[in-house]
Amino acid sequence: MLSVVVFLPLAVGLVLLVLPRPRDGTVAWTWVAAAALDLALVIGLWVYHPSASGSRGTVTGPLAYEERVLWIPSVGASYHVGVDGFSLPLMAMTAVLFLACAVYSLRRRGGRVRAHAVLFLFLQTVSLGLFSALDLLLFFVFFDLSIVGMYFVIAGWGHGNPARSALQFFLYTFLGSLALLLGFIGLYVASDPRTFDMVELAGQTPLEGRGPAGGLVLLAIGVGLAVKTPTVPFHTWLPPAHTDAPAVGSVILAGVLLKMGTYGFVRIAMPILPGAWSDHAMVLVVVGVASVLYGALVALAQTDFKRMVAYTSVNHMGYIILGLGAAGLATGAQSGAAALAITGGITQMVSHGLLTGALFLLAGVLHDRADTYDMGSYGGLAARAPRFAALAAVAFFGSLGLPGLSGFIAEFQIFAGSLGPVPVATALALLGILVTAALFLRALRRLFLGGPGPCTDRVGDLSARESAAIAPLLALAVLIGLLPHFLLGRVEPAARALAALVTG
């Protein structure tokens, strides 16, 4: 069942490839249908997920829909997939975002519609596979394939200087993945019996109490994931990649690919290296706070809307790193707070996916109309495009962490959970939400309010297609903001188990 969910998009993509000269409309609607079907299947996984009483207890809570087939017997690598409380929300978010991209891409202008659709279907399989992978090698393969896929998206459909940005993106994150591979090999070598299986490794915790070896392996894995996340100072590939990527590419890049980094921390680094994680959590906390403040301040100085959103991603990912680091520093008595911080981190991954997805689609709308992201060129858009302005306002307020939207649920949990273990760092990180409030309100004023700017009259309101892609993302953000329990109920058991492990 799980494999069907993962490989359905790829299968549809292959079918599209072998069709002799399909019409553009057929391709676009097939893509939408495939994404919708996959989302329906993920919802099915969600509904029937035995979150409370799992089939088999593992260290991070019950695991469901497990499948395991031996893949490379000589090194003990297998095709092992399964779903727990961490992966389920991310898979759902991934399916939602890919559907939004499919809808947004209906009636694309220009040729190569089939290649575009197939590439995204491929990326969807890769992303879903990564979030369900339970084997380090499998994880790594999906991790690298995501980089390859995104390289072609940016290089093939970007604007500005796409070839250069795509190459930088590819080389930088690929280098990061090599560090990750080094760490994985370190884990493999230390394990006994030798294996790449995450569940077995989490049971063995092979480098526990082995001195500097655990720290070095964590360093390798940490750097690899930090590049992907990205955290300061490894973030410089992100702004150019976003600025030059097509709107839907940015959505997947920010919404899904960045989460592969933070998800890796939760899935691999924390359960397999809990001791090393606790020992070096302060580094994570510092990196997290630096990302929060640095990302927010640099975003404040931007005049290019898309670049600004890109930097706020650095800020938002920083909160996650802070929360995960703080969980590592929590004492046994604070394990409730640690679980809250971890839950907040996962919620932030989902929330950021939805909100930033919406923001990048809105940026794409702006670029489609007037070919520029420069905020000074607009103004007073609310009069010409009220629906556009209303959706943007919701997305902006969600991103600045307004209660009633998903960002607040995430950030509140991270702050409340982190303050006990790391009070000073958390107090500093709080300033981040003040700066993001200032920068989003300023962007709102520059783009939508006040008098018109030179490009304002070129911007019409959202079409039905654009609204249909963007509005559901924001509706989900509101749903999580008002009734978070349906999401938190899935995450909390896994977060509690993980918190017990790293605070233990």
Binding site: Y172, L297, V298, G336, Q413, A416, S418, P423, A437, L441
Partner: protein, 621 residues
């Protein structure tokens, strides 16, 4: 009776959300829907005040979201719902068909709902959520006329400033969790462990001072006047700014549990009451005067919380809400009629519009602290509690109430002064024109409420009030003290009115400093905004020129190394291989030389070789 609580917060929220989403399509029905929703919420507040319901829904792990109505919040929900109903009714006449009424009334209702949740919240999560939503909605309301960039800038400033204070609540939530109040209950703050209690209380205090526009945050309230008048009437009376004072009164046990919070709040409140009172006195714009007066009056609520006077603080909260919304609505009437809110331009306004004039007079006299109006009682009760902390804050508080009488007199003198001669008898506003009921009714009701609350000076009523709030005991002002303060208010009021009527108050010193809100905004701009902006620019430049370029330099370095390898390494290796080849060729040529094909030469070679071999053997032995 939890239904009453759900109706209380749910009705305005639902109707407001529907109006907001419907946009301009809802314009024709927005006003009646909003008034009806607010009226029903008022009825629900009445039921809830009697039945005292409480609800709790699961929210985060171990942190349910709770709402409850106790004595304190019963007073608050009735005040909020009543003022909101009056203001919305007034606004239904004020906001004409040319305005986006769906958006306006939707936002107002949502805002009211957020305030109602704020005052009924039992835990920090719910409180913080409603508190921040209220802030964001105030942004939308202040920036309601978004076409003008200056109004949007004012709204942004108000939101960012109050959010700076809100960070305190995030801090408080984390401290409460760390200190042992797992469900973040407000009632658990007093019992937190050690330093966490101080941190939590400090966070709440900062948030409350920010929201209530106390020093040093006061300047945002001046900008909050950029919205429509009904917005000011709601924001600056019963909601938003009042929330800070209310929260402090609610967590009074926790404040009392720390040694420092009481004195800090008393001094912060006293300083705000006095200094912002002076600011109010020096305003030339009626709405700005009222705004500064709001800070000043709420200073007494803050003082009450610090001094532990729950009864006095809540009376100040409620009476100020009624009086101040009344004053703002009157200002709105005149603004609509004359198109100005400058005091000079409002000369004789009260004579033209007798109803508004009478209502304004009631509100202003109440704010002046004139007996037997309720703010007189409230201030004396607060000051009696403050006296226990020493004579100095008491003296400042008394001076602040005298200043209150002074600015009230200044406003009254302006609106009651004779109509300027040039306007003549035939004025366009027409004093004979009867005000519409939607304008008259709220003014009359709020004026009646302002006067009626004066009944709480009676000992029996005062006892009931304190029992309602669960604040039995506490110091009561002696009769002579009340007489003195009442007399002081009356004398200052009369004297200032007399001076203003003769045009002598204009020469008051310190006009620029106080008139400009103590330079607080300039200070915030210089000390915070500009440095942060400069830091942001510097970091952005660092990001582009150092970090990004550094990464690119690394990549370029690899390319250059590759070039070097090609130009030097590759040719070098090639040449080495060639050298080996030519060396081999040379050697081969040499090796060919002995191959002559002549037998005798081969013999010679063999002999030479043997001799050499023999020599080697001999020598090596």
């Amino acid at each position: 009776m939890t239904a009453s609580l759900w109706a209380l917060v749910g009705l305005p929220a639902m109707v407001g959300a529907v109006l907001l989403v419907s946009g301009r399509r809802a314009d024709p029905v927005a006003a009646p829907c909003a008034v009806a929703a607010a009226g029903l919420a008022l009825a629900a507040a009445g039921v809830a005040a009697v039945s005292r319901p409480s609800v709790s829904v699961p929210m985060l792990a171990g942190i349910p979201a709770g709402l409850a109505v106790d004595g304190l919040s019963a007073v608050a929900v009735l005040t909020v719902a009543a003022v909101a109903t009056a203001v919305l009714l007034f606004a239904s006449a004020e906001m004409g068909a040319d305005q986006a009424r769906g958006r306006f009334f939707g936002l107002m209702l949502l805002f009211t709902a957020a305030m109602l949740v704020t005052v009924t919240a039992t835990d920090l999560f719910t409180l913080l959520a409603a508190w921040e939503v209220m802030g964001a909605l105030s942004y939308a309301l202040i920036g309601y006329w978004w076409g003008e960039a200056s109004r949007v800038r004012s709204a942004t400033l108000a939101f960012v400033t109050t959010r700076a204070g809100d960070l305190g609540l995030y801090l408080a939530a984390g401290a409460a969790l760390a200190g042992g109040a797992g469900a973040l209950q407000l009632s658990g703050l007093a019992a937190l462990d050690g330093g966490w209690r101080d941190a939590a209380v400090a966070g709440v205090v900062v948030a409350a001072l920010g929201k209530s526009a106390q020093l040093p945050f006061s300047f945002w309230l001046s900008h909050a006047m950029a919205g429509p008048t009904p917005v000011s009437a709601l924001l600056h009376s019963a909601t938003m700014v009042a929330a800070g004072g209310y929260l402090l009164v609610r967590i009074e046990p926790a404040l009392a549990a720390t040694a420092w919070a009481g004195p800090v709040l008393v001094w912060a409140g006293a300083a705000t009451a006095l200094l912002l009172g002076a600011v109010a006195f020096h305003q030339s714009d009626l709405k700005q005067l009222l705004a500064a007066s709001t800070c000043s009056q709420l200073g007494f609520v803050v003082m009450a919380a610090g001094a532990g006077s729950v009864g006095g603080g809540m009376l100040q909260f409620t009476a100020h809400a009624a009086a101040k919304s009344l004053l703002f609505l009157c200002a709105g009437v005149w603004l609509a009629a004359r198109g100005t809110q400058e005091l000079d331009g409002l000369r004789g306004a009260a004579r033209r519009r007798p109803l508004a004039g009478a209502a304004f007079t009631v509100g202003a006299l109440a704010v002046a602290g004139l007996p037997p109006l309720p703010l007189w009682t409230a201030k004396d009760e607060v000051l009696a509690a403050v006296l226990h902390l020493g004579p100095a804050p008491y003296a400042v508080g008394l001076a602040a109430s005298a200043v209150g009488a002074a600015y009230a007199a200044r406003a009254l003198a302006a609106v009651w002064s004779p109509v300027p001669a040039e306007e003549g008898g035939a004025s366009p506003e027409g004093s004979e024109q009867r005000p519409p009921p939607s304008e008259a009714l709220p003014l009359a009701a709020l004026a009646a409420a302002t006067v009626g609350l004066g009944v709480l000076v009676l000992p029996a009523a005062a006892r009931w009030w304190r029992a309602l709030l669960g604040a039995a005991g506490g110091p009561q002002p002696p009769a002579w003290e009340m007489a003195v303060s009442g007399l002081l208010a009356a004398v200052v009021l009369a004297a200032t009115w007399w001076m203003c009527a003769r045009g002598r108050a204009e020469a008051a010193s310190g006009r620029r400093w106080a008139g400009g809100w103590l330079g607080l905004e300039t200070a915030a701009d210089t000390l915070v905004v500009r440095p942060v902006a400069a830091l942001a620019q510097a970091l952005a430049a660092f990001d582009d020129r150092v970090l990004a370029r550094g990464v690119r330099a690394c990549a370029d370095g690899v390319t250059r190394t590759a070039d070097l390898a090609r130009s030097r390494g590759e040719t070098g290796a090639d040449e080495a291989v060639r050298a080996v080849a030519s060396g081999a060729r040379t050697l081969a040529a040499w090796a060919l030389r002995p191959q002559t094909g002549l037998l005798h030469q081969y013999y010679v070679q063999a002999v030479v070789a043997l001799v050499v071999l023999a020599a080697v053997v001999v020598l090596m032995r």
